[in-house]
Amino acid sequence: RPPQQRPRVLLKAPTLAEMDELNISEEEESP
């Protein structure tokens, strides 16, 4: 790969507390 020249895109992140609402791929475990 050639060295990367273009700037990286900043990914905005939610706060740690806000992450709770983004349980995108969490699977409910079987009891």
């Binding site: 990286r8 895109v9 900043l10 990914l11 905005k12 992140a13 349980n23 969490e26």
Partner: protein
């Protein structure tokens, strides 16, 4: 069926490809169901962190911001979830503290920011993220690591707590001193059967166990120092608080026993190369209280010596120890009221809180100094025991 053709390590780029729909399986197998005591024992320290980062690198490589985001969110939520479920298990908490820190270090080491690349090999520099800047996610991970650290400290304190009074104060190991008990005092240990079973050795063994687990998990050395300092603080604070509340602990011989116990703790620090951790310094109030039990307490010169010696104790604490001081034999005397008054006058101008007891809930602020790894990502292989066959080395 794809045929697995063995490739040389130099052909790999240190990434792991996965399908979006396998992300939850990744979190489940690598975070939620991984037992630190089971398969994880034989893994290279920080392997879960490296695997997650290599997956992240691939999502970055294909320039899929959504995939990067969901992987980070699922990872963070997975770690939070396992810590909720097994938050009282020391090994689980220690394991995820070290892996969270390693993941955070990877995000820095391969961020492409020069300040984090100083120790990288040229090959490691080729492995930097190419499309996304994850600085904000690093902050979230750092917040998570702080949360895990506080949880770890709590779990460790819960294990140590029942050993402290018994091991540091009640149990006597010094021959010859223990024979003489302060007169007229009941032996309080005998009524509490369980407490009586812990000795200083129990504390040292527990510290050994904490230390070796953290080492096995690949915890950053600087972080181990902070954990141990915190444990020493709690040992010192709980011991001193009990001494300040119990007359039977305020004697010359107890002073001797405490100093011996402290020397053993110091020896332990030396043995583990932790003398620069600041742990010993947290015992200073206890050390001074033990010295206070042993020095002469009669003349003005004695008072002056005590005031300059006990700079880590508050006036309230010094006065309390002097008031509680109980002679062990007929050659000793109680501390006179006028001597205590002299001390109070001498210390009048000290600016300090009037608090008698130490705050056992105090937690020192934690930091996670950047600790890059020399490990070459392209050499990492995934043991089959992790059930991650759906990941493809790239």
């Amino acid at each position: 069926h794809p045929v697995n053709i063995p490739r040389k390590e130099k052909d790999f780029q240190g990434m792991l490809e996965y399908k979006k729909e396998d992300e939850s399986k990744l979190v489940k197998n690598l975070i939620l169901e991984l037992k630190p005591r089971g398969v994880a024992v034989n893994l290279i320290p920080g392997l879960p962190a490296y695997i997650l980062f290599m997956c992240l690198r691939h999502a970055d490589y294909i320039n899929d911001d959504q995939k990067v985001r969901t992987l980070l969110t699922s990872t963070i939520n997975g770690i939070k979830k396992i810590l909720k479920k097994r938050g009282d298990d020391y090994e689980t908490v220690s394991f995820w503290l070290s892996n969270t820190c390693r993941f955070l270090h990877c995000l820095k080491q391969y961020s492409g920011e020069e300040s984090f690349m100083k120790h990288n090999t040229p090959r490691q520099n080729e492995h930097c993220l190419s499309n996304f800047d994850l600085a904000e996610y690093r902050q979230v991970l750092s917040d998570l690591a702080i949360q895990i650290y506080q949880q770890l400290v709590k779990v460790m304190e819960n294990i140590l707590q029942p050993m402290i009074v018994s091991g540091m104060l009640e149990h006597e190991t010094i021959q010859g001193v223990s024979g003489v008990k302060p007169t007229g005092l009941r032996k309080r240990t005998s009524s509490i059967a369980d407490e009586g079973t812990y000795t200083l050795d129990s504390i040292l063994r527990q510290l050994n166990s904490f230390h070796s687990t953290m080492c096995q998990h690949g915890t950053d050395p600087e972080l181990i120092k902070q954990v141990i300092k915190q444990m020493f603080y709690i040992i010192g604070a709980v011991t001193l608080n009990n001494l300040l509340l119990r007359k039977d602990m305020c004697s010359w011989s107890k002073g001797m026993q405490i100093r011996y116990n402290v020397s053993q703790l110091e020896e332990w620090l030396r043995d583990k190369n932790l003398m620069t951790s600041g742990a010993k310094e947290t015992l200073e109030p206890l050390i001074q209280a033990a010295q206070l039990l042993q020095v002469k307490k009669k003349t003005d010169e004695d008072a002056e010596a005590i005031c300059s010696m006990c700079n880590a104790l508050s006036t309230a604490q010094i006065v309390k120890v002097l008031n509680l001081y109980t002679p062990v034999n007929e050659f000793e005397e109680r501390v006179s009221v006028s001597f205590i008054r002299t001390i109070q006058i001498r210390l009048r101008d000290r600016k300090e809180s009037p608090q008698l007891l130490m705050d056992t809930k105090n937690i020192y602020p934690v930091t996670f100094p950047f600790n890059p790894s020399s490990l070459a990502l392209e050499t990492i292989q995934i043991p089959s025991s992790l059930n991650l066959l759906f990941l493809t080395r790239v």
